[in-house]
């Protein structure tokens, strides 16, 4: 139609896609607590089932990431810089990748958690997944932020949600320190290679919380203008 450039001026909003991507990444992380529960019980069949689910969710997240990158043409004018949005998506995607890596390592080495540390392991995983949940909640505020035009009360709401995210990440750090201390006490009685990988997986779970926190940092950059 000849005069339809009025309708063509509206690009498709990236907000919905970004929320969906974060949801999918968070869904990957959410599978970790049941995965660890099954691993503690040495139920490797169940672990395999959950790992497959995580892999599938990670693929979904990947496809929505590609979708976003394709739907942000260069001529698109947005209230926030395009590069910042793409960085946010990259940060979100790390959560999905990290969850898959943790699950893969767990099954690949059929890891056995020393009984003395099992409870703290569970605690650490839950805390890191909490951070991912909080990142998801904060990202979902983006639609209200676009609605209010990036000003006023909505900014404060988002700031306080990011602060909560930081708090959860810090808590995760504390648990991680405690778990390392517990493991140090008993590590001599365990097969060295196993211990190596136990430290490795503790490290990765801690990184999951850091990844969630990085999503918060990216959001803060969006607000800072």
């Amino acid at each position: 139609m000849a005069t339809s450039y009025l309708s063509r001026i509206f690009g498709s909003s990236p907000v919905g896609h970004i929320l969906l991507h974060m949801e999918r990444a968070n869904a990957c992380a959410s599978k970790l607590p049941p995965l660890f529960a099954a691993a503690v019980k040495q139920d490797w069949v169940e672990v395999k089932v959950i790992l497959d689910q995580i892999t599938e969710l990670e693929h979904d997240a990947d496809s929505s990431k590609k979708n976003i990158r394709m739907h942000l043409p260069n001529a698109l004018f947005m209230p926030v810089p395009r590069a910042d949005l793409l960085d946010l998506v990259t940060a979100q995607d790390k959560i999905a990748n990290r969850a898959r890596d943790i699950a893969g390592l767990l099954l690949g080495r059929k890891m056995v958690f020393p009984p003395a540390t099992a409870a703290t392991f569970t605690e650490l995983v839950n805390s890191a997944v909490d951070a991912s949940h909080q990142a998801n909640k904060t990202v979902s505020e983006l639609s209200e932020l676009f609605e209010s035009g990036f000003r006023g009360t909505e900014l404060d709401v988002m700031e306080s949600m990011i602060a909560e995210l930081d708090r959860i990440e810090h808590e995760t750090d504390q648990i991680e320190i405690r778990l390392r201390a517990q493991l140090l006490e008993i590590e001599k009685s365990l097969p060295p290679v196993d211990v190596m990988f136990l430290y490795k997986i503790i490290d990765w779970i801690g990184e999951l919380a850091n990844d969630a926190q990085r999503v918060g940092r990216r959001l803060q950059l969006l607000l800072a203008r």
């Binding site: 139609m1 339809s4 009025l6 001026i9 690009g11 909003s13 698109l76 947005m78 000003r151 009360t153």
Partner: protein
């Protein structure tokens, strides 16, 4: 002059055809924002558009019609050759109509206003002689094509910024929306009425003094608020509503406001665009009635009525399809944004109509939408579209000119 009757019917038919085309195509842009934000159904939008397009063309369409009719061509040069003016105006109508058809079929961006102005300048400068065209007038018109999207963009930016300050960024946007939206409704009724009145309604036999105009404008503003209040009172949200629900409530309040800005947009469109069809007809009629190149008399009211009817018929027969297509693509424009864009564009167009400048309603609306975007109001704008507006300037003017010279030569040879 011979063949007076033939000329008369040709002019009337071409003019009606143009008006039909404007109703079928251009009105869609004026109304699309309301439909895209789901404020009006297509049926209601067509009724609103019909009423206010008609009112706009009859009440405020006179000045622009005069410009198209006599502002571009220096008719005193043609005093002894009235047939040149008649043939030229007929050729212009034909050229603009043909060009709009071709461009529509090919999906090229065109503006009715630019087509007709290009056509008139074309037949006059190439078909007759450079000295026939009032070049400084044409310069003013061309400048207004650049200025009008800019102005409506800046105004839209300011309106939306005020909405952010007063409503969106406050802790309780819903309560503030209910508090301030009536003020915006008043302003819409007040300003549109005031601009229309200040330019005088001489041709409908109504002439008000300055203070009377202000009085009537205030009354119209109050009337709009009184009509809106029952609708506003019906909107409520639960005390426990989440922030997302509150923002949804805010948009429902703005939806009421948007009905009024949609009315003013239709009015503005009628006031400016009916002239594209009726201006050349008025010029031809002037020659036919007096037998010579007409002196500056007011545009006859019945001609404006005719243009209004043509637009409404175009809207009713074909426009609904176009409105539907465009409206579906503009779903990203929520009422709090759509109203700001519409009010800014309508204000700009009505002012231009008052001064007698033929501008493009669509370009003004695009300018206004970009203005809201710069106030960080819209999630994503495809600025590639701005290119198509420049295309419209670069392609449409020469195309209209070329076609009108072509038809002018044919008419000269044939009749």
């Amino acid at each position: 002059m011979e063949n007076i009757e033939l000329y008369f019917w040709l002019a009337a038919i071409f003019g009606l055809f143009m008006a039909w085309g404007i109703g079928a195509n251009d009105v869609a842009n004026a109304m699309a924002t309301s439909i895209g934000s789901k404020v009006l159904t297509i049926r209601k939008a067509i009724i609103v558009a019909a009423i206010f397009e008609f009112a706009g063309s009859v009440l405020a369409g006179g000045e622009v019609t005069s410009t198209i009719r006599g502002g571009i061509i220096d008719s005193s040069v043609l005093a002894d050759r009235p047939d040149l003016l008649v043939d030229g105006m007929l050729a212009s109508l034909l050229a603009a109509g043909t060009w709009l058809l071709i461009a529509s079929a090919m999906g090229w961006p065109v503006s009715t206003t630019h087509s007709i102005v290009g056509a008139i300048v074309g037949f006059a400068s190439i078909g007759i002689g450079m000295e026939v065209v009032k070049w400084n007038q044409v310069g003013t018109i061309a400048a207004s094509w650049i200025v009008s999207p800019l102005v409506s963009g800046i105004v839209a930016f300011m309106i939306f910024t005020s909405v952010q300050r007063l409503i969106l960024e406050t802790p309780d946007p819903f309560r503030n929306a209910k508090k301030y939206v009536p003020i915006y409704i008043f302003a819409t009724g007040f300003f549109i009425t005031l601009i229309t009145l200040l330019k005088g309604l001489k041709h409908v036999g109504l002439e008000l003094g300055e203070w009377q105009s202000y009085g009537v404008a205030v009354l119209m503003g109050i009337a709009a608020v009184v009509i809106a209040i029952p609708f506003l009172n019906r909107i409520s949200i639960a005390e426990s509503a989440t922030r997302a629900e509150r923002f949804a409530g805010v948009e429902r309040v703005f939806a009421v406001l948007m009905v009024f800005t949609a009315c003013s947009m239709a009015f503005a469109h009628g006031s400016n665009d009916v002239a594209n069809a009726i201006g050349p007809v008025a010029a031809i009629l002037g020659v036919l009635q007096t037998g010579g190149v007409a002196s500056k008399s007011a545009v006859p009211l019945w001609l404006l009525l005719l243009g209004g009817v043509g637009i409404v018929v175009g809207l009713a027969t074909y426009g609904r399809h176009v409105i539907k297509t465009i409206g579906q693509n503009i779903t990203h424009l929520t009422p709090s944004r759509g109203f700001a864009a519409e009010l800014a564009a309508a204000g700009t167009v009505v002012v231009a109509s008052g001064i007698g400048l033929p501008i493009s309603t669509t370009h003004s609306l695009v300018g206004a939408v970009v203005g809201v975007g710069f106030a960080r109001g819209i999630a994503a704008l495809d600025l590639g579209v701005i290119r198509t507006i420049f295309m419209s300037w670069i392609i449409t003017l020469p195309a209209g000119a070329f076609l009108s010279v072509f038809f002018f030569k044919i008419l000269q040879a044939a009749i």
